[in-house]
């Protein structure tokens, strides 16, 4: 990995070099909540002053830019009983993501494992992912953040450039040739021992600020043992089966497919819609049988997929610890509490 250090005043130059040619998505203020605190969203940005690089976790992840809620997988032109099928990957330009936190970069890395791997890489995702340029920024742990427990508090790959504030300068990690060239457009120097110390200090200070924790020791085994645990039932009683947790989760990718015919009857579409395993008919099959009819069995499945199945397959969990699902859930269901209760620590 290559490193550079530059003054914070250089950042707008870097930003405008990117906006000059490309669509840039970054964190902007999207409103204020009922406590008068601002909340943020990833939106296209053209003005550096609109960016809020010191933002706290956005309500919604950047998912809609690479896993849109609804997306056409294919269109069909029909004539009589014959048809032809066209598959579009729905990418026509590269996109810059300016200011992703480490957890959201790790979310992409996790999605990469399942969506771009195996015998059938998913082209709609892979094509968008290939055409991303990512500038990461460091962050301030919030009370709901438990990314450190999930090993997602630092990003080791999956970005082009990562910026950590050290005083009035940035410590930049460079992972791509594109980022290297980009930094040549500003005044950036190689860091020395002094900057290394400052960087380590900044990271140590961040690490001290985490309050939420999840104990993942032996978690896959414990989840198997506690499959019938009554705590699932009590969480299930609270769950509204609304699916919001999956909608705000940067790593939830499950979907359904449906086919429709356009009004003029000559075009049909096959559309993919992101789904949530908490919704009641997620596992319902023909004949009306539902493999997970109760809300607790669906909620449990969501945790199993993320904290057990994915770990078994990829040796990491499908949760970055961003805390979005817990912040959004009207029933107050959040990962640290659920896992603690399954481990028999603290009540449900």
């Amino acid at each position: 990995m290559l490193f550079r250090v530059f003054d914070q005043g250089e950042l707008p130059i870097l930003f405008s070099a990117l906006t000059a040619r490309h669509e840039v998505i970054g964190p902007v203020e999207a409103g204020v909540d009922r406590h008068g605190k601002p909340f943020y969203a990833f939106e296209p940005a053209t003005d550096f002053r609109a960016l809020r690089l010191a933002y706290t976790t956005t309500k919604l992840p950047a998912k809609r830019y690479f896993l849109p809620c609804r997306e056409d997988l294919a269109t069909f032109r029909t004539s009589g009983s014959d048809w032809s099928k066209t598959v579009e990957y729905n990418v026509d330009r590269p996109r810059v993501f300016f200011g992703l936190h480490a957890c959201d970069i790790n979310a992409l890395n996790k999605l990469d494992k399942v969506l771009t791997g195996g015998d059938y890489p998913m082209p709609w995702y892979a094509a968008k992912r290939r055409n991303m340029f990512i500038v990461g920024v460091d962050c301030e742990p919030q009370p709901s953040c438990f990314c450190r427990s999930m090993g997602a508090d630092t990003a080791l790959s999956g970005f082009d450039l990562f910026l950590t504030g050290i005083g009035d300068r940035y410590f930049a990690e460079i992972l791509s040739n594109n980022a290297y060239n980009l930094l040549r457009g500003i005044r950036a120097v190689e860091p020395g021992e002094e900057e290394h110390v400052l960087y380590r200090r900044a990271v140590a200070e961040k690490t001290r600020k985490y309050t939420a924790r999840v104990d993942t020791t032996d978690l896959t085994k414990i989840l198997d043992m506690e499959f019938e645990s009554p705590v699932w039932k009590s969480w299930g009683e609270k769950c509204l089966s609304c699916g919001s947790c999956a909608a705000v989760c940067p790593t939830c990718y499950c979907y359904g497919v449906e086919e429709t015919v356009d009004i003029d009857l000559s075009v049909a579409r096959k559309t993919k819609t992101l789904y949530s395993c908490n919704l009641v008919d997620f596992a319902q099959v023909a004949g009306g049988h539902n493999f997970r009819p109760e809300s607790h069995s669906r909620l449990k499945y969501r945790y199993y997929h993320k904290h057990r199945g994915f770990v078994e397959a990829y040796e990491e969990s499908l949760c970055t610890g961003c805390g979005r699902c817990g912040e959004t859930c009207l029933a107050g269901i959040n990962v640290p509490d659920v896992i603690a209760s399954v481990r028999g620590e603290g009540g449900a």
Partner: protein, 308 residues
Amino acid sequence: MTRERTPDMEIPFVDVAGSPFRPPRRNDFAAFEYTYKAEVTRVHTLTAMETLYEIQLLDPEERRRFSFSPGQFVMLEVPGIGEAPFSISSSPLRRGAVELCIRKAGSLTTYLTKVPRGIRVGIRGPFGTAFPMERMHGENVLLIAGGLGLAPLRSAICYVQENRSRFQAVDIVYGAKEPSQLLFSYMYEAWRQDDIDLSIIVEKAGPLWKGPRGLITKRLKEILADRDHAECARNMYAIVCGPPVMFQYVCDQLNVYGIPMQKMFVSLERRMHCGMGKCCRCNVGSTYTCLKGPVFDYWTVLNLPEAI
């Protein structure tokens, strides 16, 4: 789609794999939505609810390439109407064509009952695991189906017929609710002629029904009662297809008669929207039914929480 490279520094170029209609290759983007265009060439009404469709790929080159094994399934697509998974019911020797035995259950399946022969459909696949027929060579085979479970099992039966000399005793036990629901009745004579012992048992029947009545387990007991358990353990394989409730009763009973669970194979049904391990709809616990299944050995099934 723009394929222009950005001239200097900055960003990746738009790098999207080109034509979507290339032959499927491993790790090829185009494999994901690759559809074989096919035609419904024969429609055969089996019962009031089930119809057998013969579907042939149109492209001669694709016909040569398309092959499957008993137990696998395909995704059948009618543009604008829907797409759903169906087990292949026909012989694996027939290249480029499949028979699907489809029960009317919803929008796509109802549409299919109304269409004339000759419509164009799409086939994706074949997907999933298969019954390990070759491992069963030289052994006794017990083929057990309840209701629509005969659809996937029929492909295995075709295999057995075509390779009859490679198997020892072959028994089919097929159970249905009532005689009017029996599938593939025109095949029974041919199976018997191939020295396959076929027993059919129905739960309810009018006075015209001469055969046995009751559940599959009753018939199984009669068949297995006079066999030596150690013998069964050594040289008996079983394939069990049917509704989930059936697996437990039947497989537990088979186990009592000595057949090891690793030698019993079942086919699980789950909701499926991709067939390729991406949509997650088919997960049992954390196992993808479309990739690791639908055919599992019963020991694996017992180890999957929520499988049955």
